[in-house]
């Protein structure tokens, strides 16, 4: 009987250790903790080109992650991308003339939305729109422009 008891305790410890490990993986290793609930508010912004932005890409202000991209859709009439951002509810004092840009983290890193605060006294609320946006920099376009300007310079010299 005693042996059965110790066996039960050990099995209990085994199961507990397994669940602790699963919990550790979920909380410490994955992005569950930074996802924490669906609370917060949503704002939308329109971009001409979103480059490689994806759903769940970070939304950052001054380099600090304050939310995530919740959805990306395409407007059939204006041919623009509509990006819905989920901002954490604790960051509720973002001016409504904030400027949204799509940046790339590092040379080859993932793309994220960077918000530069404006000077307005009005704050963004749920369903708000960010009207000042700048598209993602597409490397091919930049190289194309660079070559074009080089060619023009060359033409001017002659």
């Amino acid at each position: 009987m005693v042996q059965m008891r110790t066996m039960e305790v050990m099995v209990g410890a085994f199961m507990a250790a397994g669940f602790v490990a699963l919990f550790f993986l979920a909380m410490q290793v994955s992005n569950l903790s930074s996802l924490a609930g669906g609370d917060g508010y949503q704002v939308t912004a329109r971009f001409d080109n979103i480059g490689g932005l994806k759903v769940r890409s970070p939304v950052a202000m001054a380099g600090v992650r304050i939310g995530r991209v919740a959805g990306i859709s395409f407007d059939n009439t204006t041919y623009e991308a509509i990006v819905t951002m989920q901002i954490d509810s604790s960051y509720n004092t973002i001016p409504d003339d904030t400027f949204a840009k799509i940046y790339t983290a590092g040379l080859l890193g993932e793309q994220y939305i960077g918000l530069d605060p404006g000077g307005s006294e009005e704050y963004l609320t749920d369903g708000g729109k960010i009207s000042l946006t700048q598209s993602a920099l597409v490397l091919e376009e930049i190289i194309g422009q660079f070559l074009f300007s080089k060619a023009e310079e060359g033409g001017g010299d002659e």
Partner: protein, 258 residues
């Protein structure tokens, strides 16, 4: 004519084995209702299948994580990307190494023991003895072992991955000087709960199912002699390893292939 006949014999024999394996599985499942009323049988098997495998799993996990830390640091530092060491260690553990290595160790540690135990029970006619007493040996002996294997595998794989991440942290942050914050934050930013961790858990459940099934079938189907038991034990390890690696490819293609 003779080679053709031999090929046919092999085909029929393997198909027959496959059929017997599935019938055994059905029989094992039919014992689950009886098992619910007698959870003690399950506890005893969880002990021998799960608890006793814990040591080898945790120690291997620690060392695999530490090796990943060393190797990953060596490669990543050539690109100046040491900060992503956490992502590399965690992704490779959670997606692949955790489920696969745990399943291979599980087949070697627990699977072979199950086959040998049941094979010996058959060889010493304990299974027939149970049948004589109107106790269904499959429901009484095999079902608890099957459920214990199915339950233990995901827990063991989770332990393996968790300990491996800590081992990688020990080497990367403790010995090689990767930034501690970067190790965790990059990991949390890149490892997705559904994409990576759930899929890893699903893999480990599938492997646990297949490993335990193979072990029990080989034990139950063995030739009841000492040689037969030894052959069945070898077959358990070989078949389990092959099944794990093949299934891993299929599951990876289904889960992570676009």
């Amino acid at each position: 004519m003779e080679p053709l006949a031999r090929l046919g014999r092999i085909g029929i024999a393997s198909l027959e084995r496959l059929g017997r394996g599935h019938l055994l599985l059905l029989h094992i499942f039919s014992g689950i209702t009886d098992l619910i009323t007698r959870p003690r049988l399950l506890v005893a098997q969880l002990h021998s299948v799960g608890v006793l495998s814990m040591l080898i799993i945790t120690v291997s996990g620690l060392f695999v994580g530490m090796v990943l830390g060393l190797q990953g640091f060596y490669i990543l530092s050539q690109f100046g990307a040491e900060e992503t060491l956490g992502v590399m260690v965690a992704a490779s553990l959670v997606r692949e190494l955790g489920p696969v290595v745990t399943a291979l160790l599980f087949a070697g540690r627990a699977g072979s023991a199950l086959t040998a135990e049941i094979g010996l029970m058959k060889a010493t006619e304990q299974l027939s003895g149970l049948e004589m007493m109107a106790v269904d040996p499959i429901k009484r002996i095999l079902t608890p072992r099957f459920m214990a294997g199915l339950l233990s595998m995901p827990l063991l794989a989770a332990m393996f991955s968790a300990i491996g991440v800590i081992g990688g942290h020990f080497v990367g942050v403790g010995l090689l000087g990767v930034d501690e914050g970067a190790y965790w934050s990059q990991m949390q930013a890149k490892i997705d709960l559904h994409e990576d961790i759930y899929n890893g858990v699903i893999k480990s459940i599938v492997f646990g199912f297949v490993c335990t099934w193979i072990a029990l079938f080989q034990g139950h189907d063995c030739v009841p002699t000492s040689e037969g038991v030894s052959r069945a034990t070898t077959r358990t390890v070989v078949h389990s390893a092959l099944a794990i690696l093949c299934l891993d490819f299929v599951l990876t293609a289904l889960m992570f292939g676009e």
